[in-house]
Symmetry: C2
Subunit: 323 residues, 2 copies
């Protein structure tokens, strides 16, 4: 009758409440189109530009929902998290707006631009090694010290309800979508997309796009249970983390398919988007377009929402400059 593990699964009512709560703190981001990319893919692509979002990424939605939903008493002790980057920025931004302390555990290898931005928002950084295990160990120490409220980057119902507001906006901005595609790392954005669309537009297909070099979600999806890798290497640095129980709940139930792309395909799609759409976006955001270009037959003729998840790039080390 029910799962063995009792999960605190967010509902669509939580999404609506989240949207009301976070609206004063986020942008209603624009949807851009490109006739060039439409011609190239044979699809009608609608790019939801969360790279223009506050703090530079969609993650500010979930982080703001968590921070502004805290009781006064809990808020006083502050918030803490571990994150490969954008959740750290976003939680720092949200905590700053509320005026409460925030500590983030971050891999020492994270882009300098992200570290500077966290500090710019008033966040305190504690560095760890670039592996899931080191990250989680370091984090435990931080929480023990501060008593701060843990806001997980994705395995948190408040965060998923917040991310779910993105596709809620998108369906209001674009009529008649046939599919939505988003990058998948830990699965927060994809879970939020599942939560919203399975409720208000269950006919819209949901695709997740993943780097081939960090394809644990793809393998999990095919195997029917979570497979987690420690420290995979990909240029799409936001997508290295594994699925967790709560995101697996949504991904396993509502995702149509998970598609993968190689590093070269991701870099090519990233450069192409910068060239043609004139937007700065992260390598992670290029994974959906890379998989659309690779799987033309899946998307041709369809109206496809493509979630551009963030724009926090270190401009001094662009991937096509490394050759």
């Amino acid at each position: 009758m029910s799962d063995m593990t009792v999960l605190d699964v967010p509902t669509f009512e939580d999404v609506v409440a989240a949207h009301e709560r976070i609206k004063p703190h986020i942008h209603l981001t624009p949807v851009l189109t490109s006739s060039y990319l439409n011609a190239l893919t044979g699809a009608e692509l609608y790019f939801k530009c969360e790279n223009f979002q506050k703090a530079g990424a969609f993650k500010v939605r979930g982080a703001s929902n968590a921070v502004f939903g805290l009781s006064e008493e809990k808020a006083k002790k502050g918030v803490a998290t571990h994150s490969s980057g954008n959740h750290a920025l976003s939680l720092s931004y949200a905590a700053g707006r509320r005026g409460i302390p925030v500590t983030v555990v971050m891999p020492r290898t994270a882009p300098e631009a992200k570290k500077q931005a966290v500090r710019g928002y008033g966040g305190e950084i504690v560095e760890c090694e670039p592996s899931t295990s080191s990250r989680e160990a370091t984090f435990k120490e931080v929480v023990a010290e501060t008593g701060a409220e843990f806001v997980h980057p994705y395995n948190d119902p408040r965060v998923i309800a917040g991310q779910a507001t993105c596709s809620l906006e998108l369906t209001g901005q674009v009529d008649g979508l046939d599919a939505v595609i988003a990058p998948i790392g830990g699965g927060g954005m994809v879970s939020g997309t599942c939560l919203t669309l399975s409720t208000i537009a269950p006919d819209i297909e949901i695709y997740a796009a993943e780097p081939k070099n960090a394809d644990d979600a793809y393998r999990s999806f095919k195997a029917g249970h979570i497979i987690a890798d420690d420290a995979p290497q990909t240029i799409a640095d936001g997508l290295k983390v594994p699925l967790k129980e709560l995101t697996w709940h949504f991904v396993s139930r509502h995702v149509t398919d998970i598609l993968t792309a190689t590093e070269d395909q991701i870099i090519d799609a990233m450069k192409l988007t910068w060239q043609r759409m004139k937007i700065v976006m992260e390598p992670s955001c290029a994974v959906p377009l890379a998989t659309i270009l690779k799987n033309r037959e899946v998307f041709a003729g369809k109206r496809v929402g493509v979630i551009i998840t963030g724009g926090n790039v270190d401009l001094d080390t662009l991937p096509w400059m490394r050759a």
Copy 2:
């Protein structure tokens, strides 16, 4: 009673007609804001994003107005121009939309991305040396051969009326502007801005921003007559060309002041905009922000329209990667 030279000066009626004519062929580009840059400058900046324009630059406005205003008979012989880049792209785009031939004379040193894009729109390129004199000599030969209609990149009433539609849109998008600032090279965008604003909003100040390394418009403005340099060197490659009679007409009458910025200031402002606003824009577009940062006292407390003129950058040779 009148100037010694009889100029074919476009009127505001020409601007309104141009807007009707080109609307099917251009984007109504968005206006973006940045709370970070507002805090940094003390001004309220409204960025009119012509980098998202068709063909990647505002120049498609003037080029489309010229191309779609041609009689059938004239159109058959095609159009031709010389341009440091974006006018070439734009004229090729517009000619392609109308299905007529287009030849462009372009410096051999122009960014490869621009040459490829011209060819992508079906334009034929004839290369010249990177000086105004070589460009004009080569161009004469091309016109003699083809009989094509010359559409000058800026010293043309059709082009200025087209560019003038940009500030017409901007005043509809942002209320209560105190000032508008745009980069100045040949002066087409600034002249269009003068034409529109002097008619419909004469209280709005008009600033032009120029690279110190190519400050012929600045020196012309201070001297009271056109001073033209041959082949100045600046990273802002769209701003190397001199004023001509028609643009001087507008600049000398309606511009509040011309401000300059060094190469380093331009590059810093460009990188800052990419980092914070997540948009890809050309070095030329960064000159206004560079001068605003330098002249804080001029702009602080004002609502300022900043025209981001284009986004056609060679991503393989970004200026901050050259060090």
